[in-house]
Symmetry: C2
Amino acid sequence: MTAPRLDVLAIGNAIVDVIADADDRFLESQGLTKGMMRLIDEREADRLYAAMGPGRELSGGSAGNTAAGLAAMGCKAGFIGQVADDQLGAIYQHDIESLGVDFIVPARADVGATARSLILVTPDAQRTMNTFLGAAQMLDKSDIEPAEVAAAAIVYLEGYLWDPPAPRAALEKAIAAAHAAGRKVAFTLSDTFCVDRHRDGFWQLIKAGKIDILFANEAEAAAMEEENDVERAIELLSKEVPMLVVTRSEAGATAIAGDERADVPAEPIDRLVDTTGAGDLFAAGFLAGQARSRSLKDSLRLGAIAAAEVIQHYGARPEKDLRALAGDLLA
Amino acid sequence: MTAPRLDVLAIGNAIVDVIADADDRFLESQGLTKGMMRLIDEREADRLYAAMGPGRELSGGSAGNTAAGLAAMGCKAGFIGQVADDQLGAIYQHDIESLGVDFIVPARADVGATARSLILVTPDAQRTMNTFLGAAQMLDKSDIEPAEVAAAAIVYLEGYLWDPPAPRAALEKAIAAAHAAGRKVAFTLSDTFCVDRHRDGFWQLIKAGKIDILFANEAEAAAMEEENDVERAIELLSKEVPMLVVTRSEAGATAIAGDERADVPAEPIDRLVDTTGAGDLFAAGFLAGQARSRSLKDSLRLGAIAAAEVIQHYGARPEKDLRALAGDLLA
């Protein structure tokens, strides 16, 4: 086994975020449930866009945000996701490449429009996401080169990939390629609605030993176990995977690997602006720690530092030098 | 003369801003002069974009920002500018219309790409702009309907329109239509390089009585008069126009109309992030005051409030409810 070229190869939906302020009344008038991610078609995307306020366009996508965060932590990261050959696709590719992330799958002209997520941020900093997948759902198993996967110490996959059939097949191929090369597979449950849609499929992945590091927030862990007692859900879930990482918002985070458990508090922040990307950046910090062979506790601390940065501004990607914020932890 | 339907009709280059952080070293390596706006072609835009960091895309354009600010002040505003029938053009139209601004000229498919400005923001919050005009320079005098111009109490024009020939003709037509209808013409000198390029043309407009309200910052006033003593330049320039408004950064602003002069300090701010749009929003606040028949001094105060809001975040358009910030001044 050769030394990996990349620390982490992230695979996910390549999405440009369109972030607008909204109040609770607007969410109600649109029949939206605060904090959720829903999938919408192009027609609904056009309708909702016309109804919402002026936007800020920033590259996003869960696994893409994690790859961006890893690069900002000084790690070598790659990203696989499908964009269209259009202006938003060019923006997506530029933004991730300008951070030093390997952008592996080229834009295509025959896949419709680049994915976009209409993200409504309420004054309480919660985000409500309305995602038109467009070109992203055309990611295909032919886009997964086993040699590319083998070149990364960890392949990181978002649960959202399970929604459309072609990306699901790409995800399965990436897992097989990673394990065939002796690499690790990290997976995020993405959101509770995603868990509700795909609980059986996610359990099959876990029970088959296909996931080495599982990321969840408290609600997702509870949803996977269909267990209202969060501590109990975490305990149960931790027995099913080699490493479980649970984010707990302002209560910090927990990681469990076999008999070892670590807990950290959340990092203090000055002002909460937009929680979009908090989980993605937590995963980036944690994986940066793992890539540098840090302890469970220090990896959690790195996750907390990265998440704290991203929730203090609009957008799901870091604006500050995360390596500098990490200080001694990554030195 | 019927009562005007719009308080202000703004005419300018319709530009999507691509805002990235940069350090002084990057500006030097690219041969850029901090704080300036330069016009670039598509090839240079592609080259610089490839070299710069990840961007935030937000609608911009000087007069467009002013129209957005006027709407956020509760005024009735219209905007004339040319976008292409592409994704950035759709973003531009959405953003300005979602604020309630009348977007008057439709997107066109035969004008290349929508204009974009690559804006590099340094840690001192100064912005350095690199603008590819694209579709914006296809704005034409046929896009100016005299009846639309006559429907606004004030037509507001940016000096940048003087750069390409077709928008210059549109500007001249708009001035003629406004004055034929007994309306006022407001004009901004835009930037010192714009003044250097077009000093003679701007003087012709002023000497011919075509400008009723002239906006400038200190450097632009000095450049117009080719006079290093700023106070002296302001005094001289004020004798040439019915109303002169000069912004002075952290020193506040001055307005002179005939024998009347008003000065206000800058509004206090918590943190300076990005000065893009400061002048545009100052103009919005000032014109909102004029539209509501406020005094020179109160109009300046409204300008200072709007400018203070926009420099505390990335992007050149207000994020907060300016009418609420204005409080009693607009009540």
